[in-house]
């Protein structure tokens, strides 16, 4: 399979084991979220995928090539957006993109045409002739994304692409990522904003303390009890109906409504039917946190308990 395949990858820096055991696959045409707490080894893992760092153990395949032995082939096909915002400060946005394109072997005309396309794509047209040092954090982030796309790579590695972006730019990023996946590209996105990943990722890679969670662990975490938020136009009736259903003890009631732990989706459906049947005017009935966040917290808790 092309795309990204990572098997048993480990990397330590002296005594620090940044990545201990990472294994996952991302299929072409899909978006995977790379999720983990700070210091879990996300950036180290991405550096290894981006041909910058050699793993101590394990194998990596990017678009079918090994980043250690065939970095050149990988670089041709891989676009990397780093978490550190680096740009040549005195060059204009357009010049920076043209230079990047030329570094991928494009001719002068082709490179400037590509720069123009990208400037339009990431909405930096009004700033195209400005020096990159005057850009705001979010604008630099967009420039960085454009640079990762400059050679139309089939595999994209995005390290915290949404940080510093305003809500409109985030929505555009989401659309862009989905569109690129639709074109058959393989995309790995790391982010802390789980709600955001939820909307663009097809699958998730959970990384905690340098190790990826096994699929069965993820499945189990997904099945564990989670919180559902219920809102009603009539709070008192909601509370009494929850009491009737046996949730009086565990429900947390606040001024927005109630939060109830439920083990599974059928349980949720049953409770909703009960509430409606009791005549509670329910205006909202949804998981309090997204799927990714739920699994993330659950795995972290499991990690802490262990």
């Amino acid at each position: 399979m092309a795309g990204i395949t990572v098997t048993g990858v480990a990397r330590s820096f002296g005594e620090v084991h940044a990545v201990r055991d990472a294994s996952f696959e991302v299929a072409p045409g899909s978006v995977a979220g790379l999720i983990g707490p700070n210091g879990a080894g996300k950036t180290t893992l991405l550096l290894m995928l981006a041909t910058l760092l050699a793993p101590d153990a394990g194998t990596i395949r990017i678009a079918g090539y090994d980043p250690v032995t065939e970095p050149h082939q990988v670089r041709r096909r891989m676009g990397w957006m780093p978490d550190v915002l680096g740009s040549w400060p005195t060059l204009s946005v357009r010049a920076a993109l043209t230079t990047s394109a030329r570094m991928y072997g494009m001719g002068a005309d082709e490179a400037s045409a590509r720069a123009q396309q990208l400037v339009e794509l990431v909405d930096l047209v009004p700033l195209a002739e400005q020096a990159t040092r005057v850009l705001s954090r979010g604008q630099k982030q967009r420039l960085s994304l454009a640079r990762a796309l400059v050679h139309d790579p089939e595999v994209l590695l995005l390290d915290e692409p949404a940080s510093g972006l305003d809500p409109a730019a985030r929505a555009e990023l989401r659309e862009l990522v989905r569109r690129l996946a639709g074109e058959g590209k393989t995309i790995l996105v790391s982010s802390h904003v789980l709600a955001e990943l939820e909307e663009m990722a097809d699958s998730a890679v959970y990384l905690a303390a340098g190790a990826t969670a096994a699929p069965e662990e993820v499945a189990r975490a997904g099945r564990s009890a989670r919180h559902w938020r219920i809102r009603s136009l009539d709070a008192e009736r909601l509370v009494s109906a929850l009491g009737d259903a046996g949730f009086g003890e565990v429900a947390v009631v606040d001024r927005f409504g109630a939060v109830v732990p439920l083990t599974s989706e059928p349980d949720a459906a049953q409770l909703l039917a009960h509430l409606i049947g009791s005549g509670v005017p329910v205006s909202s009935f949804a998981p309090a946190v997204g799927d990714l966040e739920h699994v993330f917290h659950d795995l972290n808790r499991a990690g802490d308990d262990a």
């Binding site: 760092l53 050699a54 250690v68 570094m103 072997g105």
Partner: protein
Amino acid sequence: MIGFFQGMWLIVALDLKQRVRGVAWYVLLGVFVLLVTIVTVLVVIATNAWDSGGGAVFSTVVFFVLLLGTLVSPALSGNAINGEREAGTLATTQVTLVTTAQLVVGKWLAAWITALAFLVASVPFLVFGVVLGEVSASTIAVSLVVLAVEVGVIAAIGVGLSGVIARPLFSVVVTYLVVAALSIGTLIAFALGGAAMQSTVHSTYISVDYEALDDSGQIPDGDEVPCLAPVVSEYPTPRWDYVWGFLAANPYVVVADASPGTFDEHGSPRDLFGWIAVGVRQAQHAPDLETTYDECADWRKYGAYGYGGPGEGETPKEVYERSVPSWFVGLSIHVLLGAGALAWAWRRTEVPVKRLAPGSRIA
């Protein structure tokens, strides 16, 4: 695949584009021209160059350009690679098809070209020295070429160290220390080394017995020259011939020694460069550890109060010509140093990184 020169030139162009947009560089160039102007004017006044020719002006300006070049070059090159790493632009270049070798060589060429701008700015002053006369075209050409190479070596050391040492400030300082070691350290090593490794000279003196001379100080008729027994005295002498390599590695000596020596009819050098060259080459030769001064023999040969006369001792020109051209040795040492520094930087900057020094980072 991206061609080696194409990729390297991209890095050079990128680096130069960023430099020329900064104000600092122009200020530095302006200060440089101002200083060279002041020095030239002072030297012209001091040496009375309008009458005595431009040799002194020329050699002083060349040395001054070398001094400023070696002072400016570390600042221009000493943060080439680790500065980019700090700015977060190194890794984004390394994930492109530009190879590490192209990156390192490109950075070096850019730093060199920038430093050469200072050399170009000094050309009017050198031409002025030439116009005053008495400087040969070959001296000018050779001095400029060697000057350019020396500045390139400093640039290579600076870029090399910037690839080896993680922190920009530290690598710039170390580059300055290397320049100081070459410019001043070699002189100290030469002086101390030579003085420490001394040999004993056995000097034999055979004197005329003045007591045996007649009243007018002449040998009594028909007699042999009256001689005293040989007196042997011992004294230590420094062995410069063991340590002349240090002196050869001095960039000022390289520039001076490389310019073709011109000598007057007595075999004495015509300019400052020539005197330095003769001095350095003289140091290559082992001192004569068994010297004999036979006054008696001289008396027999030349008569009373005779002496060896001209032709006995070597002229500077003869010393110059029978010695190894030390600039060649010095320049080879420098070029090896520079190339070594670049190679080291290449190895340390190569990705994917296998062994990462503590405290350094990739992106």
